[in-house]
Amino acid sequence: MFRKALPYILTTLLLLSTGCFSGFFNGALNGTFNEPFNSVNKSFDNGTIFGGLYSHTIEPLTFNNNPTEVRESLRQARGVINQVEYPLSSVLTIRLGRNGLGDVAKRHGIETVYYADIENWSALFGLWSRDVVHIYGR
């Protein structure tokens, strides 16, 4: 009985884990989103763009209703957090780095922060991941 039902169960689990299930639709339709820093350890239920084997994406980190200067002449600073995680348990996670916007900006001589993007690298279903904040300012 269980052996016969196994393909159905696995198929269901696969579909439920694709991101359709919770992440995107939880907040997206009413205009609220996942925390940007969730891209570290991008989980199945993050719901937006997911690449388990290999992922390298960049998306906005900050957004507001004020006019924001985005000239290419702005200074750019980068912070990095590296993470190694045993996929089945977060107990064995090692996470190291600095991505604080103020912290990174200060260390790179930026006094006024205009906006920021977040770059995420991830491989082998989160075994290794890396978040890089790109801060633009003067």
């Binding site: 198929t11 992922s55 994406t57 960049i58 957004f63 993007d117």
Partner: protein, 98 residues
């Protein structure tokens, strides 16, 4: 019994996977608008995912602004496109400004 299991799974899928066969929506990044002038230019940048295994692309605000020739950004939306439970999906950052 086999039919019962199948029906149960189909029922679960129907309840939980609404909209996943095909999704194409545009949503705001920020809803705190207050007499916000959008400007005359628009820029886009995309990132993609395939088979839940690979994801790539620069959909950052900087890339979208550069693509649209925007120097002052006033508002951001994002467009999400997905087919067949995310076998292929694309997220586009859309920026507005001058």
């Amino acid at each position: 019994m086999k039919l019962l299991v199948l029906l149960l799974i189909l029922a679960m899928a129907t309840i939980t996977l609404t909209g996943c066969v095909y999704t194409h929506v545009t949503l705001p990044y920020s809803t705190e608008l207050n007499k916000t002038e959008l400007g005359h230019k628009q820029g886009e940048a995309s990132m993609y995912a395939l088979l839940w295994l690979f994801a790539w692309g620069d959909a950052g605000a900087a890339a979208a602004a550069k693509n649209g020739g925007i120097t002052t950004l006033t508002h951001m939306d994002r467009e999400f496109y997905s087919v067949l439970f995310g076998i292929y999906s694309r997220q586009i950052t859309i920026v507005y400004g001058d």
